[in-house]
């Protein structure tokens, strides 16, 4: 051993970095340095003051790792870090990799420091001290590593509006008037009783559920070595002792009689809840009623019922297959790309969009989740038939002169027969309700996709179809 640097307890990282940089610049091999800080048998050589001829460059990753490792209490930490520096220079493997023996070691040291800091942030318990002005608090904490300095930044950011002190066996941090300072540590300072501590104990004892004891989960996250400085842990033995008995009492007591007066409150509330009306008197009542619809199982998958929009006396009704993804979320039909496309194309064909009633064959969104998105699925025949209840109601209240069926589901809903649709495109047929239905093809298939992949040919065809509907309404008064 030729060099034996000694490093201070405070500002350890900067001090270590300076020494390591100097030694590396003189190309001093790891075996020539004793990092233990204990004087050996021989007088060590002085650390060179001037920078040597060799360049010392390190990666960000190394700096980040060493910034953590230096606070570990392992006596070999500095030697390990220097060895890693040395190997980086010699290009001897990757001493920072988890699969390297040294790298793994360094990562474990850093991890242990990180965990200790995290536990300090969690388990420091402040007691209030008497103070005439700014509020003052003090805590005693016993960390495993030398982490008070790196661990204090968190408290500076969190408790900037009060004075506090965290004492540890080696070091004490004081934060006064917004300025941090470090002093020699020592023994546990006297901490006065704190009124909030009793409330905290009350909370701890009552938030605990005696019916689910999981002591291992608790011990792995709150290791016993920290318990002596956590006031609430004193309650644990009695909480455990009583737990079984409390659960047994619950079980013995069994179901209890209903509290007097409860039934009246329940009845009153339930009577005020919205219900399905069997015979709604107008479109508005029908819409309200539809919110409770459970005629098929789609209601469980979808968010909510999406009802048609438009005036009750519209001449034209447009029926599409089902609401789209966004319409399902907002509950508003035509909220989204499809609505915008429909508005533009019908207006292009001569319509005043606000005079059209637009609705869907099936009023709940059907989909399957895939890669975090909801992919629309076509409703099946049974679902379409269940939903006729509502579509027929809309037809009966609006009594449109023409209904435009956009897609397969609307054709099945309006005419029952969904066969050979390609051949029937553009045809005028008689619907189940007795009125005229025009089969429009441009929007058939998935409506969201149709709206997204708008291209020239599609738009021309759609406007063409809407124009024919426009002409029909003009000529058939």
């Amino acid at each position: 051993m030729i060099y034996a640097p000694s490093l201070p307890e405070r500002g350890t990282f900067v001090a270590w970095r300076n020494v390591a940089r100097l030694l590396m610049s003189h190309h001093v091999p790891p075996d020539d340095i004793d990092w233990s800080g204990r004087p050996g048998l021989f007088t060590p050589r002085a650390i060179p003051e001037a920078v040597g001829p060799h360049n010392v460059n390190v990666t960000k990753n190394f700096l980040k790792l060493s910034e953590s490792v230096v606070w570990n209490s392992d006596p070999e930490r500095f030697a390990f870090l220097y060895k890693a520096l040395w190997r980086l220079r010699l290009r001897d493997g990757d001493p920072l990799s988890q699969s390297d023996v040294l790298g793994r070691r360094l990562h474990l040291l850093a991890k242990s420091v990180g965990r200790d800091i995290h536990k300090m942030h969690a388990f420091v318990r402040f007691h209030e001290l008497p103070s005439p002005g700014r509020r003052r608090f003090a805590a005693w904490f016993e960390p495993e590593h030398y982490i008070l300095e790196p661990g204090s930044h968190f408290f500076m950011k969190r408790f900037a509006d009060m004075d506090w002190m965290i004492a540890t066996p080696r070091l004490t941090a004081r934060f006064e008037g917004g300025v941090i300072s470090y002093h020699t540590g020592g023994r546990k300072p006297p901490l006065p009783a704190d009124a909030s501590e009793e409330l905290w104990a009350t909370y701890f004892a009552n938030i605990f559920n005696p019916a689910r004891i999981k002591m291992n989960a608790m011990r792995s996250e709150m290791p016993k070595k920290y318990w002596k400085n956590l006031p609430e842990t004193r309650l644990i033995p009695s909480m455990l002792a009583e737990a079984e008995e409390r659960v047994a009492r619950m079980r013995e007591a069994g179901a209890s009689a209903s509290r007097p007066g409860a039934a009246i409150i329940s009845t009153r509330y339930r009577n005020s809840m919205e219900k399905i009306e069997e015979n709604p008197k107008n479109l508005k009542d029908a819409k309200r009623s539809s919110r409770q619809c459970r005629r098929c199982s789609l209601c469980e998958m979808a968010t909510q019922t999406v009802w048609g929009v438009g005036p009750e006396n519209a001449s034209l009704m447009i029926v599409t297959d089902q609401p789209g993804d966004r319409e399902d979320l907002t509950g508003e039909l035509l909220d989204g790309e499809f609505g915008a496309a429909l508005r533009e194309l019908t207006t292009g064909a001569g319509f005043d969009f606000s005079e059209i009633y637009v609705t869907t064959a099936v009023k709940h969104f059907k989909f399957r989740p895939e890669d975090g998105r909801r992919i629309p699925l076509a409703p099946d025949r049974a679902e379409i038939e269940h939903c006729l209840w509502w579509l027929d109601m809309e037809l009966a209240f609006v009594r449109p002169r023409l209904v435009l069926a956009l897609g397969t589901a609307p054709v099945i809903a309006l005419i029952s027969d969904g066969n050979a649709l390609e051949l029937r495109r553009g045809a005028f047929e008689t619907g189940r309700h007795g009125g005229r239905v025009m089969i429009a093809g441009a929007f058939s298939g998935k409506r969201d996709r149709a709206a997204k992949t708008r291209n020239g040919a599609f738009e021309v065809e759609a406007v063409n179809e809407f124009s024919r509907a426009f002409q029909y309404l003009k000529t058939h008064v």
Partner: protein, 410 residues
């Protein structure tokens, strides 16, 4: 409620809140008190204590009141229960939160409530508490507000202004169970609120054309809770339901809470031991959904009669049903496939991929990198290891079965 002390109120209203499993205080907006105020948030959450039930205490989890006009059979606070009732004033909640916070007991407040008078009245009282913490006391810590079913969209919007996280509980995995056990709750309006919270959150993240951010809305997103074991829904149905909630409403978390006996129980629900192992397996499966690229249907292939195997974890159960895909060459396999190896976690896989860029990995490297080798070795091949015959062995599942345990004397 004259004469009841703050301590007694706290006892009643924390006891009433303990059946909600959610405790997260992570994510969200980065804030601290260096420019005034008290508190900070935005890093990883901190658990300040643990109770013997294995649950962490991160937030002061209390009810504003346990008076309630709803009659949910699984809930200790239902209108028909004879439990002792109490109500906090706004200042009491605010003071408790701030004083606990200053002593570093908690990360913030998780406020829920029984429903008094009406949903809107209750919600607006809760919003008042959050507003007081933020606006009057400049509190920068974490706030989680439970939204009240059927509260108006305006109040939800206001709650999102002050809270880091909002949540509304779906309570039970199937609509019909909700209607049976919680007759005043309506699954469709609960979902509509979740949809609103998703859209508000997305709108708040979008910049307007002037580059200014829209008004804030619950930066730590939303979560929900499902009670497990109070109805007969099987695990596959539960996972399908969770997967719809994640994709539809962009939930950060779905919490599964094993139905646990309550004092003063309802005749509608028998008291049983809470199915803690089932809850644990569901959380594991939930992790597979969110971080490992599994779909609910894939997890279902490892289930038995619709329920997850309680003896082995769901990923292992899946792998045992898909032995044709294994053993996997660790040096060549894609990230997606490596994530499916039992015993490899997300971090392990990332380390493996980083390390194999430099050189070919050997069996010994797996241990160093932190893989659970005992589990993984039947499913991988790499220099230094070849699982001869194991993968085809009919007895492979027994390798992973729990060791028989000595029976205890009564």
């Amino acid at each position: 409620m004259v004469g009841i002390s703050l301590r007694d109120k706290l006892a009643i209203l924390s006891d009433a809140a303990k059946y909600d499993a959610s405790c997260a205080s992570s994510g969200g907006e980065k804030r601290d008190s260096r420019k005034g105020g008290l508190g900070s948030s935005g890093g990883s959450g901190i658990c300040h204590a643990y109770t013997p039930d294995g649950r962490c205490i991160s937030l002061l989890k209390i009810l504003m009141t346990n008076f309630c006009i709803f009659d949910c059979a699984y809930c200790i606070n239902r209108v028909s229960s004879n439990v002792e009732r109490a109500r906090f004033s706004v200042d009491e909640v605010v003071d408790l939160t701030l004083e606990f916070y200053r002593r570093n007991y908690i990360e913030g407040l998780f406020l829920s409530s029984g429903i008094i008078r009406s949903s809107d009245q209750t919600m607006s009282d809760m919003v008042r508490i959050a507003r007081s913490l933020r606006d009057i006391h400049a509190f920068r810590g974490y706030i989680h507000l439970k939204t009240i079913p059927d509260a108006s969209p305006e109040l939800i919007r206001e709650a999102g202004l002050y809270a880091d996280r909002l949540s509304i509980n779906v309570e039970l995995p199937q609509d019909r169970s909700v209607r049976r056990l919680a007759p005043e709750k309506r699954p469709e309006t609960i979902r509509a609120t979740m949809a609103q919270m998703r859209l508000e959150g997305e709108a708040a993240k979008e910049k307007s054309h002037t580059g200014r951010l829209a008004r804030k809305f619950a930066p730590a997103g939303q979560s929900t809770q499902m009670i497990i074991g109070a109805d007969d829904t099987d695990d596959v149905a539960i996972l399908n339901s969770a997967s719809r909630l994640y994709t539809g409403y962009r939930l950060r978390r779905v919490y599964y809470s094993a139905f646990s006996p309550i004092p003063d129980s309802s005749a509608a629900l028998p008291l049983v031991k809470p199915p803690l192992m089932r809850e644990h397996r569901l959380y594991q499966a939930d992790w597979l959904l969110r971080f490992y690229g599994f779909t609910a249907d894939e997890i279902a292939t490892g289930a038995r009669d619709g329920n997850l195997d309680l003896a082995i974890d769901p990923k292992l159960a899946w792998a045992l049903q898909h032995r044709g895909l294994f053993p996997l060459d660790v040096n060549r396999a894609s990230r997606e496939m490596l994530l499916r190896v039992p015993g490899f976690g997300v971090r392990t896989v990332d380390r493996l991929i980083a390390a194999r860029r430099n050189r070919s990995l050997r069996y010994e490297d797996l241990v160093r990198i932190g893989a659970s080798v005992k589990k993984a070795r039947s499913f991988v091949v790499l220099p230094g290891w070849r699982p001869t015959g194991l993968i085809d062995s009919a007895t492979l599942p027994s390798f992973f079965a729990a060791k028989p345990e000595q029976m205890k004397l009564l």
